[in-house]
């Protein structure tokens, strides 16, 4: 009962803040509402026994990536655009495509599981599910190769960001 209440609260906050991100005029308000979405999704992660991923969400996503967003918005001093939405028929088509995507996703989600496949029930969890130890055990053995590639990807991103943000090339 407690879990359902928490889920309802977090889901409500997430959807409310998400709507705010898309429909607010001031980019700083949009960024702060996105932080609200990230924090409520982190709460939902904890409901799903994913403690380490929830902590990563707060530290990396809400605590570093969004600070970067806020820095850029504040330094560029961008005011909100007028009018708010794309003008003309493109706006209608945008909402229509979004509706199509929504219907498709909901239909896939609520379909009953096919015959012969695993039941759509939650399996019992091991004791340390979602803890850093469990994640580390899988990350450094099965997924070692993508892990090393990701480190190179991050290096490329750092070098690229520094080069792109320079004022002149020597």
């Amino acid at each position: 009962m407690f879990e359902s209440l928490l889920f309802a609260v977090f889901a409500g906050i997430a959807i409310g803040c998400a709507l705010g991100v898309v429909f607010h005029r001031n980019p700083v308000h949009c960024a702060l509402l996105l932080v609200g979405v990230l924090l409520s999704v982190a709460g939902i992660f904890i409901l799903l026994h994913a403690q380490f991923v929830a902590a990563l969400q707060v530290i990396v996503y809400a605590g570093a990536i969004m600070v970067l967003f806020l820095f850029v918005v504040m330094l560029l001093n961008i005011k909100g655009e007028t009018p708010l939405l794309t003008p003309g028929a493109a706006k209608g088509f945008g909402f229509l495509f979004a509706l199509i995507v929504f219907v498709e996703l909901i239909w896939t989600a609520v379909q009953p599981a096919a015959e012969g496949q695993r039941m759509a029930e939650a399996l019992p969890l091991p004791a340390d599910f979602g803890s850093p130890a469990a994640l580390g055990r899988v990350l450094y053995t099965v997924w070692l190769y993508p892990f090393e590639i990701t480190s190179i990807l991050l290096l490329v991103a750092v070098v690229g960001a520094v080069v792109l943000a320079k004022r002149k090339f020597f």
Binding site: V28, L32, Q51, F52, A62, A64, V67, L70, F71, M74
Partner: protein
Amino acid sequence: MDLATLIEAVVKVHVVLGFVLVAVPLIVWMERKVLGHMQDRIGPQRVGPFGLLQTIADGIKLFMKEDILPSQSDKVVYFLAPAISIVTALAAMTVIPFGDTVWLFGREIALRITDVNIAILFLLGATSMGVYGIVLGGWASNSKYPLLGGLRSSAQMISYELAQGISLIGVIMITGSLSLNEIGRAQEKLWFVVPQFFAFVIYVVCSVAETNRAPFDLAEAETELVAGFHTEFSSMKFALYFLAEYANMMVVSGVAITCFLGGWHGPLLPGPLWFFIKLTFFLFFYIWLRATFPRLRYDQLMAFGWKVLLPASLLNLAATAVFLTVKG
């Protein structure tokens, strides 16, 4: 969750909150007295014995001041920014262990508000969210100096967060757990400051930078940027920022004590008393640093964080990992 656990949690929260609210005036008094004596003067001495009531008088003065709201400021964010600072600082206090366990009223009560198995990650998350209090305070004031001060301050904080976190990983590797309670308990025989001395030094330097204290306080120094990000805040909002800064100092000192200086372990006195003695020593060290070192220029500060502390903490991590693997 039964009623007894709920009452226990509520009482503990109130006790810790009361402790913070009582300790901050004492820390401020200690700072003014110690700074005074180190600068060859006496400090407050008229209000109350030894000037002890000076901070209370200052608090009453702050409370009575007019609450100014700049007309072009963003009202909601202006209101929210000091709240974010103090909430994250107090949230980080919940996982710091003040002692082991006591037997009271027939129950075994642990001397900490709670203990999550990812306590260190929780602390890192709380300090990451604390950056928002500063950057939003600087922006919401809609004024040059606060914006610059806020951006500089938050850039400094996110730079030193990295080295701070990495310096703790050595301790985590030795203990094998992220829980502060486990780390505190594991230091019964040997305090981790001995095997992890360089990590301790790096952690302390990073904490001073994280809390925007001297010598890393360029972003809020009077001679540089008026008062930095909290220029336009008055009365209770300023008091909240002030409170948040000292609460943050207590949090990082508490983490340093738990991870490196043995937590609540000590020869004769009970656990919490040793914790408070170590905490007082740490806060005295903070004030000593303020009295002794000149301020670092901003580019020196950032260069120090990225080019010196981060590689040093990574080296410490690598050396600890190699040593632990070889030891078996």
